[in-house]
Symmetry: C2
Subunit: 155 residues, 2 copies
């Protein structure tokens, strides 16, 4: 194998800072959400997907794709949310593509209560720190990386 | 409670893109690392922390802080890595601050084998998509957000 192209200092600093921001911001948003509403960030992400559908329901496989979670992780998570009454499962016996996950009234209430504080926290910790140019640069960066990720299944 | 300040379209798009990039990039880096070396991204992060210390050892509490993981999650993870021989535990009976996690020769070998492919993947998926201005903007964004996060413990 040829000598790996290690990151230069500039990229190394940028990468380390990006990773630190991700993990610390995620941890903080998670703690805030838990303290305010008893939801985890993962619960919140699932509920956001469901509220984004006109009839509040989505197939498990589609949900896994939208969230980019492994199927087994999602199944376990959905089962736990079901036991807490946040979602329900609806089987479709005549359709091999399997079950729907459905938003319950309790699930809708939970996210409606949680969302205002969550968005305030996202503003306070994130957007209030950035210029308009930063906001646009971040979107451009994310779109470029996402295009590359969608281009092929393996690097 | 007053009407929440929902994100405007520009910030909403930027936030969604940022979240999607994080989750998809993390998932891809994790799969690549697993396929190439059998390490998870979490294993990799722990091993990076250990190789960054002159004597390859760190206290569990300090490791939790550096990684921004909850203590219980880290303890479980370290126990699994110990069973695989990647790290060892060293107690210090005369010190109430507790045990060290120590890099083993097998752990060092694992990260030395995994790192070159991992950095190539980070380049291919991430840095090769960005301009020098993007790299600097990302670092600026991350530093601003991290400063805010360090400023106070709660939003």
């Amino acid at each position: 194998m040829t000598e790996p192209r290690w990151l230069d200092d500039r990229r190394q600093r940028s990468w380390r800072a990006y990773l630190a921001m991700n993990s610390q911001l995620t941890a903080r948003l998670h703690r805030q959400l838990q303290a305010d509403s008893g939801l985890s960030l993962a619960d919140f992400d699932v509920l956001v997907q469901l509220t984004g559908r006109p009839d509040g329901r989505v197939r498990v496989l589609e949900l896994a794709r939208a969230l980019q979670w492994e199927k087994s992780r999602l199944s376990h998570h959905i089962a736990r949310m079901q036991r807490r009454g946040l979602v329900a499962r609806e089987d479709c016996p005549d359709d091999a593509r399997g079950a729907y996950t459905v938003l319950t009234p309790l699930g809708r209430q939970a996210i409606e209560q949680a969302a205002p504080r969550h968005v305030e926290t996202v503003r306070a910790l994130f957007f209030d720190q950035l210029t308009a140019e930063h906001v646009d640069a971040l979107q451009a960066i994310a779109h470029r990386v996402l295009s590359r990720l969608e281009d092929n299944a393996q690097p």
